[in-house]
Amino acid sequence: MINESVRNKITEVTFHGTARLDPRLKLLMLIILGCVSFFINGDVPSLLLMTAVTVFVAAGSDPKWGIKMLIIYILISYLNICLKYIYIPVISLMISMFGVTVLKAMPIVTLGRWVLKSTYMDELTVALERAGMPLTVIIPFVVMFRYIPTLGIEYKLIRNTMKIRGVSDSFIKILLHPFATFEYILIPLLMRCLKVSDELAASGTTRGMERTNKRYALQEVRFGFIEYLILAFVLIFVAGLFVLEKTPAGHFVIWRLG
């Protein structure tokens, strides 16, 4: 007896469109984006790059995130220009560094977070396996992603206890005892880490984590024609951006006052 609604739910995916591309392609795109972002400097190409990322993410079922990031990008670009007109010795330096770093990071963060949300870990595992990465690197890699949110939760719990016990609970106290504070937070965190790793490993081992047979993910994982097509597209687009850099459009300043 087949339960249709259940089967449908099992094969359902939350993110569609570009999200269904092979994880290897997504990772490649992230790397390419990282390389490109650093070298593209003109206002126009940079904005184009950011917009392209937004479009890609929107086509992958997360338009809200993409657009939100794009708006913030535009805001900060504009604010960065305002800075040029005000000069405060040390602070200006810091803020300009901050502004530029953030702007450079935005496309990467936008794409990166979306990749994290839209990629299922089992597909990532299988894709990396097929790409030739050894299991000894894949397992820690995947575990890391599952563990980082947990880290956040644990950190909060530890800080709460510290507050109640009056340990490093005020900014001044932290400033006066930075190393002690670090120790107080890190030690319980690491103790928990050991415990959770142990339990996680026990759970994984009893469910066959160490088996070396070939694995199939719930959704098909394939680097096929579409992936190659999109890769080609991306490379052409990136090349285009570089060309644009050299033309007058590359020097055109969008963000200006007055």
């Binding site: 259940v6 870990m121 089992d122 206890t161 109640i164 928990r192 026990a202 719930l218």
Partner: protein, 495 residues
């Protein structure tokens, strides 16, 4: 199905065998309960069945453990995975994937099954265990009970013949335990062989076939279900076992010590109109008002998500109330003052130990250096011999006592305990109960959040509940309402 032949095991690095000469036969389709005091060896026994011993936990083995005709000791955990499935105690650290459907598929994917078969298996698991509403969700959004159901589902999809459960009810509230019981019943009816180790076992009282009592690594008693359920109370307590009928064995509700009641100096803790909501539609806590004074031990009950943790967070000053006032000794309390006055003993002591010695730990955060005071606290909590030990080297119960000691040094007048007995055996539970009573006799106001019905009825002078009236309202339970609650929690196990 499973047979232990004169099996002994010694963990690497230990001098004494944890399991000694175990002879046990578990038949096909049988449900066996393993129970005994903390440290008796029940978990070690389970590990010998699912392959964690000796590969994951190295050590010396003697004798054999058989699955049918094969020796489990000679099989690798990878090969045992499809034959024996294990569900562990802490639902938070059992999942690998961030998505529930993927987690259900995890075991099957490891086995290398083709896609269609994986879908089939998940479908059967979801249908059998009624998990449809939990598909395609982020695991982080589930409650403990729900996480555990997914863990069971993940194992179920691998269709092992034997199911092993290691203290599955330790982190669950009554509702979730009830559901767990239902799932175990389905498993039993489907013919699986089930082995459960747990301190609390009331939820299994209609299901088990045999109960095995382990002491110091040896099987000391074997009971049939009837024998086990009809154990003489004194015998049961002597063996350190919980009751199978918490609703029946309520006993007398403790009263505040008369000295305190008569004393003029009773501190008054007053809460007036406390409200809190995480989202605008539903108020989690709605206009809570109550008073508490020295010597009160107040139990707070309610299902996971009812708002108990939020309430505690507000009263300890970690979270700010959205409206309402909190007073102590007549003065209004700000969040910072609440933190100064109160102390929280968390469920998991690992979040609360920061230093490298018990003595240091006790005075952390305070400026106390009075040797005498420290000595007396250590003495009172039976921790004197551990004075120089690292807190992390102590047992769970000892760690808990260390955090309580810190509260005494801090001289907290209001103490909060969050699930202090989760995972504790009977003796430890009674010890905590006595300690709490002592603390309240010394004038502290104590709040207990707990699912442990036996513990609450043993320890609390008043009980507040967030479940009886929903919508964020909290009421105080009288004798009749308490009885009603007991019926509600345990009605499905009525014989």
């Amino acid at each position: 199905m499973i047979r232990f032949k004169d099996f002994s095991f010694c963990y690497e690095g230990m001098t004494e065998d944890t399991l000694k000469n175990i002879d046990l036969e578990i038949k096909d389709g049988e449900m066996v309960l393993l129970t005994g005091r903390s440290g008796c060896g029940k978990t070690t026994l389970l590990r010998s069945i699912n392959g964690l011993i000796p590969h994951f936990y190295p050590g010396k083995t003697n004798g054999d453990v058989l699955y049918g005709d094969e020796s489990l000791l000679e099989m690798k955990p990878s090969d045992i995975a499809g034959k024996v499935g294990t569900v562990f105690q802490d639902p938070r650290s059992q999942f690998f994937m961030t998505d529930t459907t993927r987690e259900l598929a995890f075991g099957c994917e490891n086995m290398g099954y083709p896609r269609e078969e994986i879908i089939d298996r998940i479908e059967k698991a979801v249908t059998a265990l009624e998990l449809e509403e939990y598909l395609n969700r982020s695991i982080f959004s589930l409650s403990s009970g729900e996480k555990q159901q997914i863990a069971i589902g993940s194992v179920y999809a691998m269709t092992p013949k034997v199911f092993v459960f290691d203290e599955p009810s330790a982190n669950l509230d009554h509702e979730a335990t009830s559901r767990l019981s239902g799932i175990m019943k389905k498993l039993k009816d489907s013919g699986y062989t089930i082995i459960v180790a747990d301190h609390r076992f009331y939820y299994l009282r209609d299901l088990i076939d045999t109960a095995v009592y382990i002491e110091n690594g040896q099987i000391v008693n074997r009971f049939s279900r009837d024998e086990f359920l009809n154990l003489d109370n004194d015998f049961r307590i002597q063996k350190g076992l919980r009751t199978s009928y918490p609703e029946r064995d309520i006993g007398t509700i403790p009263e505040i010590s008369s000295e305190i009641e008569a004393s003029a100096e009773r501190n008054l803790f007053k809460v007036d109109g406390l409200t809190f909501a995480y989202d605008k539609k539903q108020k989690l806590l709605d206009e809570l008002s109550f008073e508490a004074s020295s010597g009160d031990v107040i139990g707070i009950t309610g299902h996971n998500g009812a708002g108990k943790t939020t309430l505690i967070s507000i009263l300890t000053g970690i979270l700010k109330e959205q409206s309402g006032k909190v007073y102590f000794k007549g003065k209004r309390l700000s969040a910072a003052k609440k933190r100064k006055l109160s102390y929280l003993v968390m469920q998991d002591a690992d979040y609360q130990l920061f230093t490298a010695s018990v003595e240091e730990e006790l005075v952390l955060g305070t400026k106390v250096s009075d040797k005498q005071m420290i000595d007396s606290v250590l003495d009172k909590l039976a921790l004197s011999e551990f004075r120089e030990c690292h807190p992390a080297a102590l047992s769970g119960g000892q760690k808990q006592r260390v955090t309580i000691g810190a509260s005494l040094i801090k001289n907290s007048e209001i103490l909060f305990f969050d699930e202090p007995t989760s995972g504790l055996d009977y003796d430890s539970m009674i010890r905590v109960s006595s300690l709490i009573k002592e603390l309240s006799d010394n004038g502290a106001i104590i709040f207990l959040v707990s699912h442990d019905f036996e513990f609450i009825t043993h320890t609390c002078t008043r009980i507040f509940d967030l479940d009886v009236e929903k919508n964020g309202k909290m009421i105080e339970l009288g004798e009749t309402t308490l009885q009603m609650l007991a019926e509600k929690y345990f009605h499905s196990f009525k014989q």
